[in-house]
């Protein structure tokens, strides 16, 4: 297949072929799902079917699913829609959380990148019952957060809890009621669905006010004509991703191979539970941008952190929150696998990473000898 190994699934996952088929089916129908005539009703059927599929992915009722234009909108909606003024967020949340509530108090994380429950407990003691937002899994390190424990503490303080599950859903089992959260954000394109569609799951009975005004779609929770084909694709992707696949063995083989080349290479969050598809690893002494470019030339796509900062190269706030020194965090890249990753992709990455490391360290050695 491709001449490239695409290992940046946490930025976006290529669309799964059956997802595209489902979308084309929906496109053939046309119709505005709000129209009462036959064309409208046919479009509505696609939206309803997808709502059931997405609901099943996270163990909720279809009526609890509100389709949005993506994870960013879902996060913005959740944080703006609960009516809670006081907000606590983990220090490693995605920017769509941090920027939506710049006044939020930040819950620290430990050196493994896990939210500090003791700190949260102290913060919850404040006067006003807050909204707490803690992500399911981090987009840069893949570290899975103790969301159920967060909920247990939050409940005692009458807090509401939102969980950004954009990077978790489809990669690990995510169950709204198992976690106990009130709100859950999802994105289709992170699990093999199309870009431009996501969902906010609002637990029945949780307070929620719509921010966007208009035609009253999505049971008055999100106005705007539904992205029917996108939603159909999201449904199909949700259903396929329920039957998980084994990524841990690929990941473990890759990490062992890289650390065999450079024993000082640090894998962030390795000591705790992580998503099986994500590796955040440093290459000692080699700048992340250099690595990304060299790997790209060798036909391997990875990233130097989150994709969404629109090209700005800034140091990872996630690694900084974990107490990683700036000089070290500048050498970390993110490798993220997905549904179409095969063993050969991993081989290509290992070879390219190893080649670069040896080139750089040898030139250092020869420079040292020359001096």
């Amino acid at each position: 297949m491709p001449a490239f190994a695409y290992l940046d699934h946490n930025a976006t996952s290529p669309i799964r072929p059956p997802v595209l088929d489902a979308m084309v089916d929906a496109l053939r129908v046309g119709g505005n799902p709000s129209s009462v005539h036959r064309a409208g009703r046919a479009a509505r059927l696609h939206v309803d079917a997808a709502r059931r599929q997405v609901a099943a992915l996270v163990g909720v009722l279809p009526s609890e699913v509100v389709f949005t234009s993506g994870g960013t909108e879902a996060n913005n909606m959740a944080l703006g829609g609960t009516g809670r003024k006081r907000v606590l967020v983990s220090a490693i949340e995605h920017e769509s959380i941090l920027k939506a509530v710049p006044w939020a108090e930040r819950i620290p994380v430990d050196r493994n990148g896990v939210v500090d429950l003791a700190a949260l407990d102290r913060m919850l003691a404040g006067s006003e019952p807050p909204l707490v937002s803690v992500m399911f899994a981090n987009n840069e390190t893949g570290v899975i957060q103790p969301v159920a424990d967060v909920v247990r503490l939050a409940r005692a303080a009458d807090a509401l809890v939102h969980c950004d599950a954009v990077q978790g859903a489809g990669k690990a089992p995510v169950d709204l009621h198992g976690l106990g959260v009130d709100y859950l954000s999802l994105s289709a394109h992170k699990l093999g669905g199309p870009t431009g569609v996501g969902a906010l799951v609002v637990r029945a009975g949780a307070p929620f006010g719509a921010d966007r005004k208009g035609g009253g779609q999505e049971s008055n929770r999100r106005a705007g004509t539904e992205n029917v084909a996108g939603i159909a694709g999201f449904g199909a992707a949700a259903e396929i991703s329920l039957s998980g696949q084994d990524m841990a063995s690929l990941r473990d083989r890759m990490e062992a191979a890289l650390q065999a080349v450079a024993p000082q290479a640090r894998i962030y969050g390795a000591a705790v539970r992580r998503l099986a598809n994500t590796t955040c690893i440093s290459m000692p002494g080699v700048n992340a941008e250099t690595q990304v470019m060299a790997l790209d030339l060798a036909g391997v796509c990875v990233s130097a952190g989150a994709a969404c900062s629109s090209g700005k190269v800034t140091r990872s706030a996630v690694l900084a929150a974990m107490g990683v020194e700036p000089a070290e965090s500048e050498t970390a890249i993110r490798i993220s696998c997905g549904w179409n990753t095969v063993s050969e992709d991993i081989d290509r990455l290992i070879a390219a990473w190893k080649g670069l490391y040896i080139r750089v360290t040898h030139s250092d050695l020869s420079q040292a000898r020359a001096a």
């Binding site: 505005n32 234009s69 909108e73 939506a100 779609q217 106005a223 004509t225 629109s310």
Partner: protein
Amino acid sequence: MNAFSQIRRNDQPIYLDYQATTPMDPRVLEAMMPYFTYKFGNPHSRSHSYGWEAEEGVEKARGQVARLIGADEKEVIFTSGATESNNLAIRGVAEFYKDRKNHIVTTVTEHKCVLDTCRHLEQNGFEVTYLPVQQNGLIDLQVLRDAITDKTVVVSVMAVNNEIGVIQPLAEIGRICREKKVFFHTDAAQAAGKIPLDVEAMNIDLLSISGHKIYGPKGIGALYVRRKPRVRLVPLIVGGGQERGFRSGTLPTPLCVGLGEAAEICLKEMDGEAKRLKKLQERMLKGLQAKLPEIYVNGDLEHRIPGNLNISFAHVEGESLMMGIKGLSVSSGSACTSASLEPSYVLRALGVEEEMAHTSLRIGLGRFTTEQEVDTAVDDLAHHVTKLREMSPLWEMSQEGIDIKSIEWAAH
């Protein structure tokens, strides 16, 4: 040409609801497909070629959308649709300038998403003037001029109405707004691609576009935001800072590409298509008038997009008529509110009697509508209207010359 045959099967009803949504043009889907499959990168990924390739697609599309409205590509922001564009334009500008100005001018016939946004702002301390419309659906420019105060921040007037298709005098509105130094926003969801729009000539500062109303995909729209003189907005969706900070979120590359392609096709084919649709519109209206007495067109027939008719069929309940004409997909008003039985607020604003408003249908013609479909629709409508009128005691009374309004109905 009937590319629609690829989409519509013969057993499906004739689609005459082009103001609710349009089928996607197969050429648009073709342009989108590579971005669904092998060009799938995140356009914000700057570190590898997948990202660059996606970004190229997005930026080409931005230029295509810009050309449709005579804008610079840097002035186009992608959104999830016209509802979001309208929310962002009006709220964004109101909130940015709220320390100095607190007044908004709009019209009573706007789309619900504009009206609801204005109501929301009213609850938050803004004042809103809802301009009435004349019997033909157009605003009175003198009334607009008089409504603008030194506290007015934005005038929001739709370019084309979604129910009656009338075209507001955009250039004149723009001139007044520029003269009075207030921003001019127009909801062009129903206008873009159908009538020539030029943000410079018309002095438009903010303009909303929808993908699925111009034979593009659903889930994508655009907002034009003028750079000179600069219009500033408070974003509604924050996060990664995409779209110059006005609208965060990963851009859906295939949808952006689809919107761009749809815009380019509309621009290229606009003149010929407008002439073709005008003929179909006339054929439809003349056909109906030849077969049916007492039918009335709502809204100005001259200042109107050719792809729309809104007709009251006196003494025939619109909902019953819709149930009868199963072979036609039409609507009794806007799709958002089509499940409700309330008479259209747009028709009410024209001064159409409630009784009469209940008898109206919106008929939308578009790119894939054929003469044959129009003829079938005329026959079908005439047949059912005649049949329903034959069963109607009101029709019988009116034919006997009884003024129905003079009857005092017994209270129940």
